[in-house]
Amino acid sequence: MISALLVMALGAVILGAALGYAAVRFRVEGDPLVEKIDGILPQTQCGQCGFPGCRPYAEAIARGEADINQCPPGGEEGIKKLADLLGREAKPLSGEHGIEKAKSVAVIVENLCIGCTLCIQACPVDAIVGAAKQMHTVIATQCTGCELCLEPCPVDCIVMEPIAESVESWKWQYPVFEIARRSA
């Protein structure tokens, strides 16, 4: 009886020591978690999460200071991926940070633009080109749809246009021949 207890206790001590050693010996330098979280975030840099950009938000999540449901552009799927990565329960998008919208791009209504360059300064990914008193335009392929340019525009000449599905971007649907329900 005693010897059995001793053996078990000894085993526990040895294993614990081994684990402790491994934790020190194979310590992972840097913070790959932030990279991984940042890799899931959509990089719109819109700031809707309450942080100045995707990376600060990723860092906040990694530190446990922010929840995983604060990114509207990432949507449900982004939350699900974060939940998978962090081993947490997925939860619905937090309403105070916005709602998930169809992916859109900013378009400048050219005959209204006064060339004030305010939107150029607001764009986090430099997707707007133009110069003072010259018409500006959005490079659609680089626009992340963050909407940060809408607010500064003094003449409200920027509109968000949802990206229309084209023959090229069309996706095959998940097959739904499932015989799931009796009534079906």
Binding site: Q45, A127, F177
Partner: protein, 517 residues
Amino acid sequence: MSRRLFNFNGGVKPPYNKEASLGEAIADFFAVAPMPAEFVIPLHQSVGGPPHPLVKAGETVKKGQLIGGPDGNVSSAVHASTSGRVKAVEMRLMPHTSGLSALCVVIEPDGKDEWIDHAPVPWRSMSPGEVRDALRDAGVVGLGGAVFPSHLKVNPGKQGHLDTLVINGAECEPFITCDDMQMRQRPDGIIKGAAILRDLTQAKQVLIGIEDNKPEAVAIMRAAVDRLQAERIEIVAVPTRYPAGGAKQLIRVLTGIEVAHGKRSTDYGVQCFNTGTAHAIHDALELGRPMISRILTVAGNVDRPRNFEVRFGTPMNDVVALCGARPDSDRYIMGGPMMGYRMPAETVPVVKATNCILVGSKAMFPPPPPEMPCIRCGECAKACPSDLAPFELFWFSRAKIFGKAQEYHLFDCIECGCCAYVCPANIPLVDYYRFAKSEIWARENEKSAADTARERYEFRLAREERDKAEKATRLAAKAAETKAKLAEQQAGSDAKKDLIAAAAARVADAENKTNAS
């Protein structure tokens, strides 16, 4: 004489149903049908970038006039199918399962069908690059159904010559007979086209593979090779087994070479063109005619299945009208029953990819029985010509574990449909693969967009940092300058004071003198 042939694993033997449409000669649609009210010519008809429109509404165009300019090198030109007036350049329904629209040039024909000036291309005296440009501008794309721009394939590869040029006349899809009929009726153009391709790619041998269920085509093509005294061109009858007409499968059968997914076949010293494409290349170079029509089969639930030569942009139902679709017809399929695509409407135009308009009905192609669970029987793996494990791909695709699906070589799947054809559980396997593939593509696009956005954002941050730093140094420099100036001013003002004092002294002096005098 008999050449050693190789085998590919898998494959199926579906009912071929080809005889029905072999009864009549290829008819020129223009000769036998009333002029369509309009031609709707989609600008994007090939793999690669969508061409940009070169005409505006109201312009008149001639037959063969360039209306869509290729967008970069991986793209192919589009031409007016007949002469007439451009009614509109607008979004129209595409012959695509999605039911989405894309930019089309709508031509109202004037009935004259007048050619634009065109002349043979002196390809023998041109550089390979110039020939490729000519083919691109003639809009020549693969007519087997994949519509890959042909000019990108006319390439002798790294070693400077091809070992084997394969011309694909296998035509393994059930119902379709357009290649068979073209080989029977127009063998010379195909052989001449093959000879041009042979010279362009410096191929040591040209093998024209034809499934042995087309003995007439084999005989006629052999006779044509002899008559034209074409060198190094051989007609090879290959065993009939779907999908022997897949480019990779036919290359394997004829040469024993397996071209891996994502590799160029020229790296293996082989290249493959469809017979129809060979003919089109002949027309484009020897006659100077851009690609404006193709031969297609109308088959299935029609009274008079047959082949037509049809201009691109012709509404499909105008063509089917000549064959008498039976009243219970409920859909058009572009392509064959194994790999074809359901059309969103009967009015969609014929395009370069339309090798067959298959008219379907519930009786002919009954809706699939209910999908049962996979029992891992392995029939699909036995039937798969790409040696995949389709049921594993199915599990992963169904569970949306896309990484695993890619690990099991999802993208080696050629969507031939053999697995779904043999599945005892009636699982629409190919639908799952199509779904998984398009999801993966979409995600990769999203990922690369996110990466670009991150890079640009980080660059912007770095730039702002740099600007700030520069501004700071500039300010510091300016401050120093100002200080120096101030110091100078200080010094300067002292001098001024002296001057003023001196002046004041002079004034005082003078005053004194005046007072004294």
